[in-house]
Symmetry: C2
Subunit: 430 residues, 2 copies
């Protein structure tokens, strides 16, 4: 074997990046692998579409031309979406080809099936680019932190929402204005639901949790709440109290089982994730041996994502050169109970509009107390149309009790409006 031939499925943003890197850094990569890595074929929909990069690869429109080409040993799926990506990957694995993918949708939903197919064919199945773009996180979890029992993963894994929250915070802009701007810049889709609704982050945390805990987690196991209700007031008040609001993807493991969720949360300003801004992503991992560690970088984009895809290609190529494969496949050996988000205790940030008269604070504190909710701090903020805005932070309390307390409060005549209820992720308030 004098070269390693690969095929790309798709030539959109990430595909273009892969072509660029394999061209520009060809010498370097060939040294690392031992022989050149060459793109032989690229599956595209339209043969005549203008491309921003030139490649000597043959453009094809039929997947069979790749599956039936015995020279192609690695298939790189960078089309995105579930259909036909999943079927193409399965077919490639069954045809004995190694597969590299950046596809979080397929990995989070059909991971088991793909791993089984890879194992049956004794080939590699790698997906570093499916979470965190260019940030090394899958391989660090599978290899570098393999000695650890991972107890917690907390990540900012969606660049669009992090850009929006950063912008709201820095420029005191409203959610709607920032969303419109993000859409104009191409950071947010015209239907922004996958990002702002937390679904993109949920798929990514499902993948990370599966690897970290050795248990197969799918999207259905994730409690999801997006950022659509976050207001500039909450961001400002949180800041005054020493917190930053971020959309967090969280997976925690304890004796009760595993909890996986995506929701906005107040983080202490001193937390390493609190200063991760704009489109940057970061994943904070806690292990029993390593302690706290964090991985930071660009979570999306042509070249960062392609960086992770090409790293996987190089890894497979090294395996091919050393006649080894499926060295590290599925590590979901265990089954553990998933416990729902309403069993999680945490401190809460609450914003209320209340009547501005004596005795109101005592009445409200009493209502919280009746539901076993202790208050860590209470701050009276601005007057709004004859009412006073109250901002409270509770001690650790169950989701159930906070809901009961909120429904009691809403029934009180002195409470005119419930502004926000947001979890606080802080160990010092407990």
């Amino acid at each position: 074997m004098s070269v390693i031939n690969i095929a790309l499925l798709g030539m959109g943003t990430v595909g273009t990046g892969v072509v660029k890197i394999l061209t520009n850094n060809a010498h370097n990569i060939s040294q690392k692998v031992g022989i050149p890595v060459v793109i032989k074929k690229i599956l595209v929909r339209n043969l005549t579409k203008a491309r921003t990069v030139t490649t000597e690869a043959e453009l094809v429109t039929n997947m069979e031309e790749i599956l039936n080409d015995p020279d192609i040993s690695i298939v790189v799926e960078i089309m995105g979406g579930e259909i036909p990506s999943k079927d193409y990957m399965l077919a490639a694995l069954k045809a004995g080809k190694h597969v590299v993918t950046a596809n979080k949708d397929v990995v989070s939903k059909y991971g088991r099936e793909l791993f089984e197919a890879a194992e049956a064919s004794q080939v590699d199945f790698l997906f570093e680019a499916s979470v965190g773009g260019g940030i090394p996180i899958i391989r660090p979890l599978k290899q570098c932190l393999a000695a650890n029992q991972i107890t917690e993963i907390m990540g900012i894994v969606n660049g669009t929402t992090n850009y929006m929250l950063t912008k709201m915070s820095n420029e005191k802009l409203d959610y709607a204005d920032v969303l419109a701007e993000a859409q104009a810049k191409g950071y947010a889709e015209s239907d922004p639901t996958a990002d702002v609704g937390g679904f993109d982050a949920a798929r990514k945390i499902a993948i990370l949790a599966s690897i970290a805990f050795g248990v197969r987690i799918t999207l259905d196991d994730v409690s999801i709440e997006g950022i659509t209700n976050i207001s500039i007031q909450d961001i400002e008040y949180a800041k005054e109290l020493g917190f930053i609001i971020k959309l967090l993807a969280i997976a925690k493991q304890n004796e009760q089982g595993i909890n996986v969720r995506v929701h906005p949360a107040l983080l202490p300003a001193s937390h390493p994730l609190a200063s991760v801004n704009d489109v940057y992503n970061a994943i904070f991992v806690k292990g029993d041996a390593v302690g706290e560690t964090m991985f930071y970088g660009r979570g999306a984009g042509e070249l960062p994502t392609a960086s992770a895809v090409v790293a996987d290609i190089i890894d497979v190529a090294r395996d091919i050169r050393h006649h080894v494969s499926s060295r590290i496949l599925c590590t979901c050996f265990d089954q553990k109970p998933i416990y729902p988000v309403n069993k999680i205790e945490s401190p809460y940030y609450i914003r209320l509009l209340v009547e501005d008269k004596p005795g109101v604070l005592a009445a409200i504190a009493g209502a919280f107390g009746a539901q076993q909710v202790s208050l860590h701090s209470v701050i009276q903020k601005r007057k709004v149309e004859g009412s006073t805005e109250l901002v409270l932070i509770t001690y650790r309390v169950s989701d159930e009790n906070i809901r009961l307390a909120m429904s009691t409060l809403l029934g009180m005549s002195v409470v005119s409006k419930l502004g926000s209820v947001i979890r606080v992720e802080a160990e010092q308030i407990s």
Copy 2:
């Protein structure tokens, strides 16, 4: 083969951590490898010394008992120091045993020899724990970022000095007081030179630069300056100007070649490394595809360092199970010129004591101008015994020109004292 037998060389802090992890997480690790990993022998100096962990491993005092034991396939060197560690590792590699080490001294000095021995014997030689303790950085550079041309590494890789600088900054304490406290707490040695002089950081950046640039870099190639001259005044003034002073280990590559150095520097407070505090380490890496990325965690300590050592053990064990070895060995394929620190241009922070009279500032600005040094900002600080303290930040200037300017200034009658000259690592001042 039903188990993988390993031997530890040394049972100090890190060795104890390795025993704990392999015991506590045995089930988990055995699932990942496929069969159990068992410590068969431990090389110690004193058989009767009291130990803080119990192990069923046989304690031995003679290296031959490990070298001649055909059941032992992995030798784990965690004694530290150059002698006899290096000879033991070489002997183990020559005996066909895989070697895992945490030894930055030996890897930075004798890396080439060890890699060659590993290659000749077709075994693995891994050293993730030699830099950054538990932080995954060697494997990310060798694998996850393999698609990139790395242009820059900037790290806080010495926990002792970062603890000291953080303490000085947060509690406004002097260098001497903080050093004494760090020594009392066991964070600094009684002879603190290796840490405060920058030599520990220099060994680590030599290792990182070798991997990142594919060029063998040794300690002799690193320009080294420690933190012994950093005063609380400089830390305070830097903070007022929006900068944090850190001991940085830096490796940069451009058309001229490679520059590798350790020195204190002012970093913009918004830089991801600026908020890395206490004993935490972090390594910031810039690649042509991935952009800016950062790896953060505990850079030392029993369990964090052992986490990295055991990750390497698991990786070797996976290789053994798949009958593959030396999949990724030395990647220093190239030779590139090393250019010295005095060829580096950067902005500088300068603190001076000058006479408090009209025209002084103009005279000083003139002296800088005569050496092609432009001033970005000048601030008059407190009066000290009839003189005024001046704090200046220059634009990007060569080391040579700043030295010439400083010697001119020291010859001026209006300049009574030169306080500090510290590099600024900031792209916005250029």
